[in-house]
């Protein structure tokens, strides 16, 4: 950026980057202040995810393997909140078990102040239970399926599972009707398939980061019944389940925030082609 551009073609190829930065910032802020409601296409994976929860019979037990990271929350929070709302809107029994160190903090915040189960008429210990952090890994998932109490003897408050009414007849995979596997490391998608689908033929749906989506695609719909990846599909599940949340703003901001970059990308190429074919400053 040191030499001063002289021709028009050179100038549009050497615009100060700070214009790109400023425009991106402005375009990102607009939908945060005023969401625009730009259209969203709902993908098949999201519909599969919704249906897997929606078709559960009243009284079904859902196990949520919750591996959420604080640093990556922006990417997945819309998925989480819409899922919690869907679960509490239905007559289901939910076991949240934390598989990442940050997860207890996140689930407690969500259920404490964002999606309050009591607003849906749900009671702790009767309709849902939260189990603390345990570094399960794939082997731990297998152990959980075989014997829940072997991995989590107590809930997050230290109460033995045997003293929790909801857990009375829930000991292992046989009582579980749906597994929701939430994770942040792309290859982990194989864990629930190997530990829940293959041995026990349990229905599994997954929720992960945007960049992990393509690795989940090959398993849908044969091995997983639905999947959400990134904030984009978080928005989709908000729409499908009719539970508005932070996803809509995220998608709008993504739509607009990328536009300045695309503009600069086009300018960069016009500049190159102009310098090559019009002023012939650059050779092939």
């Amino acid at each position: 950026m040191s030499e001063k551009p002289t021709t028009f073609w050179e100038k549009i190829g050497k615009i100060d980057y700070r214009w790109l930065y400023a425009l991106s910032l402005i375009f990102t802020i607009i939908p945060i202040i005023q969401p625009l409601g730009l259209p969203i296409q709902v993908s098949e994976g999201t519909i599969g995810y919704f249906n897997a929860i929606d078709k559960l019979k009243p009284g079904s037990v859902v196990a949520v393997s919750f591996g959420a990271s604080l640093a990556l929350l922006d990417e997945q929070e819309a998925q989480y909140l819409a899922t919690w709302k869907m679960l509490f809107q239905r007559e289901l029994k939910v076991i949240f078990y934390c598989t990442y160190a940050d997860s207890p903090l996140i689930i407690q915040k969500h259920l404490g102040s964002v999606v309050k189960p009591e607003n849906y008429g749900k009671k702790y210990g009767v309709d849902y239970v939260v189990l603390p952090y345990a570094p399960l890994g794939e082997a731990g998932e297998a152990s959980f399926a075989q014997n829940i109490r072997g991995v989590y003897p107590n809930d997050i408050y230290g109460t033995p599972l045997d003293q929790i009414p909801m857990m009375k007849n829930i000991n292992d995979q046989s009582a579980i009707d749906l597994v929701i596997f939430m994770y942040t490391s792309c290859t982990d998608v194989e864990w629930p398939i190997r530990q829940w689908v293959v041995p026990y033929k349990k229905p599994v749906i997954v929720a992960t980061l945007g960049c992990c989506g393509p690795m989940a695609v090959p398993y849908y719909p044969t091995q997983i019944q639905g999947f959400l990846s990134g904030s984009g599909m978080g928005t989709e599940i908000e729409i499908v389940s009719k539970n508005p949340g932070p996803g809509a703003m995220m998608s709008d901001a993504k739509n607009l925030g990328i536009l300045p970059f695309i503009l600069f990308f086009i300018l960069g190429n016009i500049s190159y082609l102009g310098r090559r074919f019009v002023t012939k400053e650059v050779k092939k």
Partner: protein
């Protein structure tokens, strides 16, 4: 380590367990060394530029250093205490997330410079980048629906192929460095001794 990988004998697995524990302890003990080097650099910077602002920078570093050190020791539960975590999350959590955000800008400006149709390789780079970018933006998924399968194809086919080749090549080179080190012929480490 290598024997514990190839052989089924418990003794090597036990040795591996002990060794991995030891290296964690050794590195944990050395952690304060960084402070010495940071102090050297801070003193030198101030000596070169004796202005009130530079002094303020230096004092800020040490103020936050001692504030965190003391609060990490003072609260019951030390660094796991609510109070310490509150400070750490509000500062480090936000700085961390914002540094990631800044990378959006640096990646965008680097692409403005390099995503030009100047050669076949450059076209391959920009196609790989742009197709998968558009695939991830909701608006393009609506108005250009074919971008979704195309973007995913880029990721799952050519990206997998190129990435796999590069990983194999780099792994072989790393392996050779490792064997040479155990052979005692790694000159880099001889220099350090």
């Amino acid at each position: 380590m290598i024997l514990s990988y190839f052989t089924p004998f418990e003794v090597f697995a036990q040795f591996k367990g002990i060794a991995t524990n030891w290296v964690v302890i050794i590195s944990a003990v050395t952690v304060a060394m960084g402070l010495v080097y940071m102090t050297n650099a801070q003193i030198k910077m101030y000596q070169r530029n004796r202005t009130p602002l530079q002094l303020a920078y230096v004092l800020t570093t040490y103020f936050f250093f001692f504030a965190f050190l003391i609060s990490g020791l003072a609260y019951p539960g030390d660094i796991n205490s609510r109070e310490y975590q509150w400070w750490f999350q509000n500062i480090y959590g936000n700085v961390g997330a914002t540094v990631y955000a800044v990378m959006f800008f640096t990646l965008a400006s680097s692409a403005y410079r390099t995503f030009v149709v100047s050669s076949i390789e450059a076209v391959a780079l920009l196609l790989g980048g742009m197709l998968y970018t558009l695939r991830q933006i909701p608006l393009f998924q609506v108005y250009i629906p074919w971008i979704v399968p195309l973007g995913e194809w880029v990721l799952l086919v050519p990206n997998t192929a190129g990435g796999r080749g590069a990983v194999v090549a780099a792994a072989l080179a790393a392996l050779v460095v490792g064997i040479r080190t155990l052979w005692g012929k790694e000159v880099t480490l001889e220099v350090a001794s």
